[in-house]
Subunit: 381 residues, 2 copies
């Protein structure tokens, strides 16, 4: 059967991008590459909605997460880390490894940040130098209220707001400058429709001030050195050339669609997915579901891992299950990047067939019918 990738990332890579990356590789110390880098730098600012530089690192997203810690802090600095899933946990653990004093704002996996609780934490920890939070916590599908969090944080001159937007940037509206987001990171394999191996980090003027006094050791992920090099359209080390060339095409595609339509499409795909899932008698896992991925509670009596493996083996559709404490309890559907309206039908159709095969009581076709109705309605408006 034809292969469909409907995972929380990597997402499907468009043919235009695959073909661009399949061209003979060019050398990075050439005007030809510098022109590409200059172009993507300008385009990334548009996607990130920022006047600041968006730096590139040759790493997956976790590398940019590391850069956000080592470039702005010194050992012993206190930060408040929102821990609402696997990626929040990773960022907090990473901060601990580098000697930060981490105040964990623990949230049940599947729930979102409570603004009152965050306000309390900020009052209780006046010396906290940053708040770290996922825009979308990929492990639970939750979208945190980043705009409102920014309003609480931006008046504090000694506190940075750092946002992991790996599964959010280019999918739904993240206004970096307007919302006061000081450090925003992302990665290549989600909305940017590329292979994993390139990460991005925007740095506000306020964050650069923190960089000046930061004492943590940094070399591979040295933001200042990269900013210096990248402002001249080159990189400090050999860059991930082919992914950057692919990025040039995927950014064209994103900007040709335009941010309003890009966000609206993702909202439409997400809404159709959520509505069909409910139509099948299933429950959404996330209290505040993101428009990038949909986490679904496994119906009782069925092993969530079995849903994933059956769908892969029988229908050649890749979705992904839960991680760590959510293993078996949820499955996650990805509908970001190079995903069209009718791909949602494929994803929902395969989910229906799989659940039916595994003994779940449902009337085949109700899910796809609901998806079609929602999509049709949304396409009108």
């Amino acid at each position: 059967m034809k292969y469909y990738l409907m995972a929380p990332g990597p997402s499907t890579i468009p043919e235009r991008v695959l073909l661009e990356m399949a061209k003979p590789i060019i050398h990075h110390r050439t005007q030809r590459f510098e022109a590409v880098l200059g172009k993507v730098r300008a385009q990334l600012k548009q996607i990130f909605q920022t006047q600041s530089d968006v730096l590139l690192f040759s790493s997956v997203g976790s590398g940019a997460m590391e850069a956000s810690i080592t470039n702005f802090f010194s050992p012993g600095d206190q930060v408040i880390a929102v821990v609402s899933g696997k990626f929040g946990e990773r960022w907090a653990d990473q901060a601990v490894v580098f000697g930060l004093d981490v105040v964990r704002y623990e949230i049940e996996w599947g729930k979102a940040v409570d603004l009152n609780r965050l306000r309390e934490l900020l009052e209780k920890h006046p010396s906290a130098k940053a708040v770290l939070c996922q825009a979308c916590e990929t492990s639970t599908g939750v979208s945190h209220p980043i705009k409102e969090m920014g309003q609480l944080i931006k008046s504090r001159s000694n506190t940075l707001f750092m946002v992991d937007a790996i599964t959010a940037m280019g999918i739904y509206d993240i206004k970096t400058d307007e919302w006061g987001l000081d450090v925003v990171i992302s990665g290549s394999q989600k909305a940017f429709m590329l292979p994993p191996g390139l990460s991005m980090m925007s740095v506000s003027q306020k964050a650069w001030e923190f960089n000046k006094v930061s004492k943590l050791p940094k070399f591979y992920f040295n933001a200042k050195e990269e900013a210096k090099a990248q402002s001249k359209n080159t990189t400090h080390f050999t860059p991930a050339i082919s992914i950057i060339q692919g990025l040039s095409i995927s950014l064209d595609m994103m900007l040709e669609e335009g941010l309003p339509r890009l966000f609206k499409r993702h909202a439409r795909l997400a809404k159709a997915t959520r509505e069909s899932v409910k139509e099948m008698g299933l429950e959404l896992w996330a209290a505040l579901p993101s428009d990038s991925i949909t986490a679904v509670k496994t119906p009782s009596g069925i092993d969530g891992e079995k849903i994933v493996s059956h769908m892969a083996q029988k229908y050649n559709v890749t979705i992904i299950g839960g991680q760590d404490q959510l293993k078996g309890k949820i499955f996650r559907l990805g509908h970001m990047g190079y995903t069209g309206e009718f791909d949602v039908l494929a994803m929902i159709g395969a989910t229906e067939m799989t659940l039916k095969d595994l003994g779940h009581n449902l009337t085949l076709g109700k899910g796809v019918a609901r998806a079609l109705q929602v999509l049709h309605q949304e396409l009108k408006s």
Copy 2:
């Protein structure tokens, strides 16, 4: 004109590899990807000539250089770093950033390690926990006597030998286990004929003992966590999926050729390049030239940077000039990876034409004729 990439890396990517990477991306948490990773792990051991694991990181080579420091040492540890060019300098600087006590063995750029001098340094610094050296210093084209250095170091139970083989592994003979090389790093964009973005690091049993007591912070480049994950054919973080899929093909190509023939081909291409360069009345820069790249002294009266730019603009051949203190003084020809005998003719031919255009006194054709003679002779034996 047709494009030829004859640089010290990235090197040309074979069509088979480009096409493999242009296939729809697969998810990394699948049996299909695990099978690929298991295969390349076994093949990498053959190329590295080691029984130890060869770990993969989603970074360019400088990331693996960082891993070699943060995973085996604690602040204040003393290491001896061979500094014979830009990459030796980078490794030493990196060690300083992470708080190591770095004894720099400075060598004139273009000269090789002197074993007596190294012996003296080892005697003078009995507590040195490692010697860091490039197998090939890419900035000068020098090949250091790694085998002989290993003999001096391996009897010292408290000293690791760390080798940057980014521009050497898979090009000429590096016997990791037999020569007592404890940590050997490499990168994807040289002999492995891939885009930059994947690095490799082999770790000996002796080095793992150092890892146990290492106190430097590590997270993105955590060798122990990666070893744990990769032993199960998965990775700690999202891996550089498409490059690893390409690696599976390029390793097939390397092992189909076989190590003896692979090394012999590179030796042949290098010899032909060196002989033709001399035939043109030019001098080699490296005292002990490597078989991966050839650094050539710019003839007096000609700017080395002009040679590179003229060759690119007029003949669409990419070679690279000197870096830092060697800028303008040398130019570097790459002949590694997916390079055949007749590609040397293209490279030497373009060099001859360029030098002639820039006013160097030479009889056009003497270089390519000499290359042909050497290649013909070497192909007989």
